[in-house]
């Protein structure tokens, strides 16, 4: 989270989690306060690498690793010049080569490798492709404008819907109020007994509510039934073909024990085995244990395997 403190004042980052780290072109970070202090005159040298820097070059760090931020900045700047698109190239291989060149330049600049040579490459490219760059810039801006227009439209659509909803609610409230007012007026004016008037009023309220319900439901037009069949699809009413299969017959499990038969668990008490087994204590029976279980297990162990196996 706060991976490391500001390299200069070290402690302040932990004490103040809202404090942000700023990165600039050399890739080293400084917290906001340190930036203000060091660059009070507008320009100075980086603390760790001593490159001359300007205060305006500091940007808020978005990534944990300041090297990543540095690379992102370099890339942004580079792609302003190297802005050819895939249809500008005759073949996919050529486009890929171009992209690789860009990556090399980015890598060189990030790791401060061959700074001079890289700069020359950039300048050369700029000179050669001035018109292409210009053209692509224009195209890019046009695309961005289109995107922005679409976003705007969407926003407007949501706004509109919100307003409609509000209006609906308002209308309903008003209708209710009118109803109540009408009831009061009638109670005042008419000669019909009050109970009948109340009943009429209730009817009207019920009607209003059903209307509101219908309106809400009308919004959700469904195209499928709950079973998944589309509405309007004709379903054949012919009976489905019967698939006959063999009925499953239960066969109880039979295990060869090579020994005399063991009495069933339920019969043990009747046959008198349980007299010779230690009785179950109340604590044991609470868990479902019964002396018959131990007896049955001992008998099974005693009887299985007694008869020699014939080969």
């Amino acid at each position: 989270m706060d991976d490391q403190g500001c390299p200069r004042c070290k402690t302040t980052k932990y004490r103040n989690p809202s404090l942000k780290l700023m990165v600039n072109v050399c890739g080293h970070t400084l917290c906001e306060n340190c930036v203000d202090m060091l660059f009070v005159r507008g320009s100075g040298n980086c603390v760790q690498c001593d490159t001359p820097l300007r205060k305006s070059n500091f940007r808020v760090q978005l990534f944990e690793d300041p090297a990543v931020d540095k690379e992102v900045e370099i890339r942004k700047k580079l792609l302003k010049t190297f802005n050819k698109r895939d249809f500008d190239f005759p073949s996919l291989a050529a486009y890929n080569d171009y992209l690789e060149k860009i990556e090399e330049i980015v890598y060189n600049q990030t790791n401060n490798v061959e700074v001079e040579g890289t700069k020359q490459i950039i300048e050369q490219y700029q000179r050669e492709n001035r018109e292409v760059i210009q053209r692509n810039k224009v195209k890019l801006t046009r695309e961005q404008e289109e995107l922005e227009e679409m976003l705007l439209l969407e926003q407007q659509g949501t706004e509109q819907r919100r307003l409609d909803l509000l209006q609906d609610e308002q209308r309903q409230l008003q209708a209710k109020r009118k109803n109540k007012q009408a009831l009061l007026d009638e109670l005042e004016r008419s000669r019909v007994p009050a109970t009948i008037l109340l009943a009429q009023h209730k009817d009207r309220v019920a009607q209003l509510e059903t209307q509101i319900e219908k309106q809400k439901q009308a919004v959700k037009t469904s195209t499928v039934f709950s079973t998944g069949i589309l509405m309007g699809q004709t379903v054949s009413l012919q009976p489905m073909a019967k698939i006959e299969e063999v009925l499953y017959r239960y066969q109880p499990l039979f295990i060869e024990t090579y020994g005399p038969p063991v009495p069933e668990l339920d019969h043990l008490g009747r046959l008198g085995y349980l007299k010779h087994v230690r009785a179950a204590l109340p604590q044991d029976t609470a868990g479902g244990y019964s002396s018959g279980l131990a007896c049955h297990r001992a008998l099974q162990d005693a009887f299985s395997g007694l008869f020699p196996i014939q080969f």
Binding site: G259, P260, P261, L271, G272, Y273, K275, H276, V277, C295, R297, A298, L299, Q300, D301, A302, F303, S304, G305, L306, F307, P308, I309, F311
Partner: protein, 315 residues
């Protein structure tokens, strides 16, 4: 324990008996060949010597389990001995020292039979060692545990004859009134079972058979005749063959027990020395604490990790 030449090799037990002996010889020769490449054949153990030492260590295992605090249930002891026996069916004593394997068997059988003893408590029973020595033994046990499980082919559940014996006693009490006091049979049957533990009986007969033979044996010692029990209650009267075979097995088991002789002290000390020398000679090359399963490369041990750390430091 070879079968006498005079006996007819007919039943399945004989075949198995031969097979057991063959397995042990094979294990011995395999190890022999592996270790004899260095030319020191005279110091390796032969089959008879291994057998003597095996019996000696088995007795020690039995004593250890009997002296164990808290008292180890008989089933756990039976399981431990069975593990020990099965392990040395396929491996030679020269490869893995029986002293450590014996303790590992006991430890594993406590776990398998749900006799919960903590590891410190377990090594606390080794009274002749200092606490540091006990720690070392514990480490060795933990190292060999996985190897033991592997050599047992992961068959960890052992059916000992104790529960079948209880079952038979219950059955006798319920269905065989002619025998007035079955409890009197219990003590000598127990004895019989303990002695049968030290023989190959567990590998040759089903546990229920061993229990039945134990009870029949103690009954005949007390002069009681249980034939009617066998024919009536066990339903064997329709099948006289069963009774014949049962008698045959009983005879064989008695012979096994009779043939068991305690190892002689001089022989034991001589062979033990030889064993120690073999282990010292051949097992220090792969680091004194032999890592059996590690050669498969599955488990990274603490030793290996420290070695790695050293390497990176120098790097």
């Amino acid at each position: 324990m070879a079968v006498d030449e005079g006996e007819h090799i007919g039943t399945i037990t004989d075949v198995v008996h031969y097979a057991l002996e063959k397995l042990r010889c094979e294990a011995n020769t395999k190890c022999y060949n592996k270790l004899s490449t260095s030319g020191k054949e005279s110091m390796l153990l032969g089959r008879y010597e291994e057998q003597v030492l095996f019996r000696y260590y088995e007795k020690r295992l039995l004593d250890f389990c009997n002296a164990f605090k808290p008292t180890m249930p008989k089933a756990v002891v039976g399981t431990a001995i069975m593990f020990f026996r099965r392990f040395y069916l396929n491996n030679s004593l020269m490869e893995y020292h029986p002293r450590i394997i014996m303790l590992t068997c006991a430890y594993l059988s406590c776990k398998v039979d749900e006799f919960n003893v903590s590891s410190t408590q377990f090594v606390g029973n080794l009274l002749q060692e200092t606490p540091a020595g006990q720690e070392r033994v514990l480490e060795q046990i933990l190292e060999f545990e996985l190897l033991l499980i592997q050599q047992l082919n992961f068959h960890l559940v052992v059916h000992t004859p104790y529960r079948p014996m209880e079952g038979l006693l219950i059955d006798i009490k319920t269905r065989y009134p002619p025998l007035e006091n079955p409890e009197s049979l219990r003590k000598s049957a127990d004895d019989f079972l303990t002695r049968a533990n030290t023989t190959d009986a567990g590998l040759l007969f089903a546990p229920s058979q061993i229990a039945l033979i134990a009870i029949l044996n103690s009954a005949s010692r007390a002069g009681l005749n249980m034939d009617s029990y066998l024919s009536e209650c066990m339903g064997m009267k329709d099948n006289r063959e069963y009774i014949v075979k049962l008698n045959e097995s009983m005879r064989r088991m008695k012979k096994l027990i009779k043939d068991y002789e305690l190892p002689k002290a001089e022989e034991v000390s001589a062979y033990k020395e030889k064993l120690e020398r073999v282990h010292l000679e051949f097992n220090t090359s792969t680091n004194k604490r032999k890592r059996g399963y590690e050669e498969d490369g599955h488990v990274a041990k603490i030793q290996c990790r420290t070695e790695d750390e050293e390497w990176t430091d120098e790097d």
